[in-house]
Symmetry: C2
Subunit: 271 residues, 2 copies
Amino acid sequence: MAKDKTDNETGGGTGGGIQSLDAALRVLMFMASRPGPLSLSELAREVDMPPSKVHRYLASFLHAGLAEQGGRSGKYDLGAGSIRLGLAAIGRHDFVNKPSAHLEELRDATGLTVLLSVWGGGGATVVRWERAASPIVTSMGLGTTLPLLNSSTGRIFLAYAPQATVQARLAEELAQAAQNPAVLGDVEPTRSGVDALIERVRGMGYATVYGDYIPGLVVVAAPILDWQGEAQAAITLIGTNPKVVQDGSDEIGHLLDFCRAHSFASVGSEG
Amino acid sequence: MAKDKTDNETGGGTGGGIQSLDAALRVLMFMASRPGPLSLSELAREVDMPPSKVHRYLASFLHAGLAEQGGRSGKYDLGAGSIRLGLAAIGRHDFVNKPSAHLEELRDATGLTVLLSVWGGGGATVVRWERAASPIVTSMGLGTTLPLLNSSTGRIFLAYAPQATVQARLAEELAQAAQNPAVLGDVEPTRSGVDALIERVRGMGYATVYGDYIPGLVVVAAPILDWQGEAQAAITLIGTNPKVVQDGSDEIGHLLDFCRAHSFASVGSEG
DNA sequence: AAACGTATTGCGTGATACGCAATTATTCTG
DNA sequence: CAGAATAATTGCGTATCACGCAATACGTTT
């Protein structure tokens, strides 16, 4: 009975359920993480798989409509089936639908630009936002993927998302940061530096960043937690006045109130 | 040399690339076609696969974040990874991003509610819409899946989408219609009836429906075609005044102009 | 035209996903 | 609160099928 199930979880920690499916989905999610269409060879190189393998995966994606092959360039890109899937998913997450009105309230209460992001598929994705009247130019569209270490939103997920799901992305960013340490500013690009960061964020319940990711801006983020204490989503405030990110500011108060009010909302429709 | 490759394509016409991946994606897209969370057994029954198989697929989907397991109900639902995927896909389709301003123009020119839909993953999905000032209550959200036979939008895809991709859904709706023929109104729920419908739509270049899907409303739709003459998207006008769907009306003129103007726009970013 | 890079397709085989059944968790019921 | 029934999950052996390799077809560059 003392089955050593541990040897499933060895090493790389890739294992979901079915190996080939995991590999295929990795290709798909990689496509989602890239801005434009990709050729077969690019794709194969980046995900480190033989082209024939990727090609067969793509054939299935094409068939499902999740991917499509653009123009005569032959490059592959996400397709209408992915849109369909995504909109269907959005329609189910209460905190993606409901808060649109509430987000406006928060925007009006703070006078800041408000962002709603979710964690999933190996990245933090901006799902909805309300822009403040102030002349802040955020060149940030829906679907933007935020960095884990370098944005307050990312740090929220770093601290509150299921640890297993952040590892891959974290390793990636640490590797990058090792070559360009200056970017990170207030965090040491090491495991212990990251651990300290996580502790700090958890202690405060929110994360602040002074224009690291977006120069000249101040950003605060806080988590919307589910019943397990894990982040289902994050709310982010973006402004220019440094005092709003000082501990105890009204804006942070509003933010935390909002997040508390929406935490523990179920994902699907529960009875 | 005379390889009988034909026996790949036998019968059901399921074949994309990899069998197991096709099956898995069928499960995923099925989840997208259903409004709420599903239990394992429901899911297994509906897609007609053994529960263990579906369970393993779900494990991979969970790992990729495409699905998640809700609350303590244990039911499965689409996850944040799907949102991530969908938003990434939306960000690439020119005609999903660009027209938002143009859609307003069309709305103002016609005074009607304007819908933008895409075909993919076995269904027609509403991607964007501009509501007219008139007091029309459309309880139709983003991500709504439209019927193929029973909506003008669906009929556009029926006539202009790649035939192979509509077969499955068409068969489904015909089966339903066989039990409830009255619903269809002006179309006979048979193959020949559908063929006649397709001919009619192609001849006109647009499709009209008098309140079949939405009682009391009149609806016109026309396709946005790609370079292959296949429908990449459809534009739909919704109103109450029957004369707008009469052949040669100003509204239909505006609609067709709009669709012509946006046809042949590439999907990805081409050079 | 030749040479290169890229995409696609066959083929045999070893890995692996599948079906079945046992086990565990959860819900219904008397 | 038992006890049963249903649903979810996990093991295991085997037949299947996805993989890697290499040949071919395609398109582009020099």
